[in-house]
C-alpha cells in the first residue's frame, strides 16, 4: 500500500502538486494519467525521494518516506529519460545497481533475453542505440524482483515488440501480487493494463478508482470518456 496525503510541491512560482491525496493498492496495476505538466512525474519522483515535497506525506507500507533510503529497496524504477555512463557496458551498469541493492538482490536475466538486450550486454553504453538504452532502463526496473514497480512513460521510445514484452511483464508481475505504478499521457495504451486509474489535473487528483467501477458507473466503455465524465469526484482510500 502506498499512500499520498496532502502532497504539495511547487518549483518556484509554479505549483505542480497542490494537495494530492491518493492510495495505490497492492497487487494491482495503477495508471497515473494526465496531460503534460499535470504532475505525474513529480508525483512519482516524490515517491522515490528524488523530489522533496513542500508539504504532505507519503507512506509505503505504513512507513513514512523520509531521509532513510532503505524503503527504496522494495521499488524498481524506470525514468522517462535514461542515460548511463557512456564507457561502461550494459552488464556493468546492471552490476552497479545490483551492488547498491545488496547481495540478496536477484537478477531476472530472462527479461533481458525477451527484450533482446542480452546480445548487447557487453557493449559499451555509448555504442548502444537509443531504443536499446530505453529497453535497458525498463528492464532494470524489474531486475531485482521489487515488490513495487514504478514506470514513468515506459512505452516512449520502445519498439512494438518490446512494448508487448513490457505489457506481458507488467501483467505477470501483477499475477505475482506485485504493485505496478505506471504513468502515461496516452490513455488508450493503458486500457488493457490498468486495474486502477488516477487522473491528475493541474496538480490535483481529478479521479482515482478502479477502471471497472469507472466504466460501470459512467456507462462509458472508453477510458478517456469515462474519466472525462467523472472529473470532479472526490475519492479517498478505502
Amino acid at each position: 500500500m502506498i499512500e499520498f496525503r496532502a502532497l504539495m510541491k511547487s518549483f518556484g512560482a509554479r505549483d505542480v502538486l497542490r494537495g494530492v491525496d491518493l492510495c495505490v493498492r497492492p497487487g494491482r496495476v495503477t495508471a497515473v494519467v494526465g496531460s503534460n505538466g499535470a504532475g505525474k512525474t513529480t508525483l512519482i519522483k516524490c515517491l522515490l525521494g528524488l523530489v522533496r515535497p513542500d508539504g504532505g506525506e507519503i507512506r509505503v507500507d505504513g512507513v513514512r518516506v523520509g531521509d532513510d533510503p532503505a524503503y527504496r529497496a522494495a521499488i524498481g524504477y524506470a525514468s522517462q529519460t535514461s542515460r548511463f555512463p557512456e564507457h561502461l557496458t550494459a552488464r556493468e551498469v546492471t552490476k552497479i545497481l545490483l551492488g547498491l541493492r545488496g547481495e540478496s538482490a536477484v537478477i531476472d536475466w530472462e527479461l533481458f533475453e525477451r527484450l533482446a538486450i542480452a546480445p548487447h550486454l557487453d557493449t559499451r553504453v555509448r555504442a548502444l542505440s537509443g531504443g536499446t538504452r530505453q529497453k535497458l532502463a525498463v528492464a532494470l526496473a524489474f531486475l531485482f524482483a521489487p515488490r513495487v514497480v514504478v514506470l514513468d512513460e515506459p512505452s516512449a521510445g520502445l519498439d512494438p515488440a518490446a512494448n508487448a514484452v513490457l505489457k506481458d511483464k507488467i501483467l505477470s508481475e501483477r499475477s505475482e501480487g506485485k504493485t505496478v505504478l505506471v504513468t502515461s499521457h496516452v490513455m488508450s495504451e493503458l486500457d488493457e493494463l490498468a486495474d486502477d486509474i488516477v487522473f491528475l489535473r493541474a496538480g490535483r487528483v481529478g479521479y482515482a478508482g478502479s477502471v471497472q467501477k469507472l466504466r460501470v458507473f459512467t456507462g462509458q466503455p472508453h477510458l478517456e470518456r469515462a474519466i472525462a465524465s467523472m472529473m470532479n469526484k472526490e475519492v479517498v482510500c478505502a
Binding site: 518549483f11 523530489v51 532503505a70
Partner: protein, 261 residues
Amino acid sequence: MRVAAKIAAFQLLDVLRSRWLFGYAIFFLLATELLLRFGGDPTRALVSLTSIVLFTVPLAAIVFATIYVHRAREFVELLLAQPVGRDAMFAGTYAAMAVLLSAGIVLGIGMPFALRGGAGVGGDAVLLVGAGVALTLVFAGTGVALALRTDDRLRAFGIALGVWACAALAYDAVLLVAATALAGAPLERPLLVATLANPIDLARVVMLMHLDISALMGYTGASFTRLFSATAGTAIAAVSLAAWAAGPALLGARLFRRKDF
C-alpha cells in the same frame, strides 16, 4: 561509506575508459618534461610550471566538474531511486572527481621529477603538486555546486568560465588597479589579506615564497616573511587552502541534499 566507495569506483572506471584523463596527465607530463629538459635549471622549470598549474588547473577543474555533474544527472537520478542515501551519492561522486583530476596532476608533474630523484627540488615539486591538488578540490567543488544550482547546461558552463576568469584574472586586475589608485597608502596588509581571500593567489604566493624568495624578501619584507616563510606560514596557507577546498564541497553537499531531480 561502502556505498560511497562503490559509487566512486564505477565513476573512476567510466572516466578512465574515456581516456581524457590521460590527455590531462599527458599535458602536465609533457609540460614538465619539456621544462625540465629545456627550461634551464629545475627551479626555473618549477617557476614556469607553477604558472601553468595556476592557470590551467582551476579552469580544467571547474569546467570538468560542471560538465560532469550535468552529464551524470540522469544516471544519478536512477541511482538515487535505489536504496542509496544522498550523502553517500555525493561523497562518491565528488571523491571520484577529485581523485581523477588530482591523479592527472600528481602523475603528470610527479613522474618527471620522480624519475630524476626530485631533480634537487623535490620538496618544492611536492609543494606544487599539493597546491595543484588543493586548487583542484576548490574549483571542482565550485563547479559541482554551480552545476547543482544551475540546471541549464550552457548557462552553467558560462558561469563556470566566468567564475574562473574572475578568480584567475579579474581579481588580480582589480587588486592591481586598486593598489595603483591608492598608491602611497599602507597597502601591504590589505593586499596580503586580499591574497589570502583568493585560492589561486594563495597557492601562488605559497609557491613564490619557496621559489622566488629573493624577490619577495625585498620589498614586502616584514609582514610577508612573518606570515609565509616560516613553517607556521606554510601551515597557515595549507589550512586556508584546505578551508577553501572544504567550502565549495560542503556547499555542494548541502545543495545536493536538497536538490530536486
